[in-house]
């Protein structure tokens, strides 16, 4: 149990997917302009990441490794993730429209989100067990959400500030992300 807690903390804070592992930065900048979008995106990532983590682990353990096809990992993972996301999207749209209204629009964004693919690959690289995969995927996703929501909050405030013209928009956003990342830097060595 203690191991899992350690793993979760490590995934959320120490190895924060956005700010320490540099994964998923396109949506990080793209969907952090407004708090509501950020929250929606964060929820969607948690949802998809856990599912993708599990399903790619299964694919890897029971198919790729068994037949010695590890070199097909990249292509099979992306296919599986893309299919999964699209399936979930269609399923939600039909069956749980309320949830779809909140998360649906973020789902396609996730297909090409390197955070998802990245976490799946990390899970395999670290040779996690099934339970560890669930825990770490969840942890990384929460870390993603945490960073995204924090960042959205900061960006909403920055809009109020007088930023020199050349620094405006993406530029200042990146510098802010750097400072935010610096705060997460403090967690290094905690686990």
């Amino acid at each position: 149990m203690g191991d899992y807690i350690l793993l979760v903390i490590s995934c959320i804070l120490v190895n924060n997917i956005l700010l320490a592992q540099y994964l998923g930065n396109c949506p990080f900048l793209g969907t952090s302009k407004k708090m509501e979008t950020a929250v929606g995106m964060a929820m969607a990532v948690v949802f998809v990441l856990v599912m993708a983590g599990v399903i790619t682990w299964i694919a890897d353990t029971f198919f790729l490794k068994r037949f010695g096809l590890e070199y097909l990992r990249t292509i099979s993972f992306i296919l599986v993730i893309a299919a999964l996301v699209q399936f979930v999207e269609m399923f939600l749209k039909k069956s749980i429209p309320a949830l779809y209204a909140g998360l649906g629009i973020f789902l396609p964004l996730i297909t090409t989100n390197c955070a998802v693919m990245g976490v799946c690959l990390i899970n395999i690289k670290e040779e996690y067990t099934f339970m560890q995969v669930i825990v770490s995927s969840f942890g990384y996703a929460v870390g993603f959400g945490l960073a995204l929501i924090l960042f959205a909050g900061v960006r909403e405030r920055i809009l109020l500030a007088r930023v020199p013209k050349p620094l405006q928009d993406t530029s200042i956003a990146l510098v802010t992300a750097g400072i935010l990342s610096l705060t997460f830097y403090a967690f290094k060595g905690m686990v």
């Binding site: 930065n25 292509i75 893309a82 990146l174 992300a177």
Partner: protein, 197 residues
């Protein structure tokens, strides 16, 4: 009016240079640019995938049904990414180790998918090749430039050659995650200053 092949090539070098003009494909930009060498390696790998996938998509554009084109693009791109992965393992193994999972992640780099969709799917092979090459080289240059800045400031070296002698205290923040963000942000600012004149 269709642009000439040269124009398609040149636009990627400044007008639409990623990631500065198109703020896309940031993850590898931030992650692997700790040194010039890494930046160049990543850039060239991406360029290879861009050129190959652009060409193949352009060739197959009449066969691929548009409803499943994204899936097809993903398969094509993933194939070339795997090819690059294997080739890098075979010939530049240390670089492969340094770039780590960012090589397979070229698959989800929006620049690559974006070019397939926005350009190659609608244009013949030659312009697609020029487009892929232009954007790819632009991307490589950006990565190398960012890598150079971060390497020089962060470790005091350039292509692993020490520049300032042993007394230099490296500004090691630059090679870490926070430095990556700040450095890119400031470079974007400079681009804005220069470009908006």
């Amino acid at each position: 009016m269709a642009k000439s092949i040269t124009q398609e090539f040149v636009k990627g070098l400044w007008d639409e240079i990623p990631p500065f003009r198109l703020v896309l494909g940031l993850c590898p930009v931030l992650a692997v640019t700790t040194t010039v060498e890494n930046g160049l390696g990543m850039g060239l790998a991406t360029t290879f995938v861009l050129v190959c996938s652009n060409m193949l998509v352009s060739l197959l554009r009449d066969i691929i049904p548009s409803k499943v084109r994204i899936a097809c693009f993903i398969v094509i791109i993933a194939t070339f990414v795997t090819v690059v992965e294997l080739l890098m393992q075979a010939f530049t193994y240390p670089l492969f180790l340094k770039l780590g999972i960012f090589i397979p992640l070229i698959v989800v780099n929006c620049i690559v998918l974006g070019r397939s969709e926005a350009f190659a799917f609608k244009n013949p092979v030659m312009p697609s090749l020029a487009d892929g090459l232009g954007i790819g080289i632009g991307f490589t240059l950006s990565l190398a430039a960012l890598g150079a800045v971060r390497e020089i400031l962060g470790s005091g070296t350039f292509f692993n050659i020490s520049l300032f002698g042993p007394s230099f205290q490296p500004f090691s923040l630059m090679v870490e995650a926070p430095g990556a963000f700040i450095c890119l942000g400031l470079m974007l600012c400079i681009m804005n200053l220069v470009g908006n004149k």
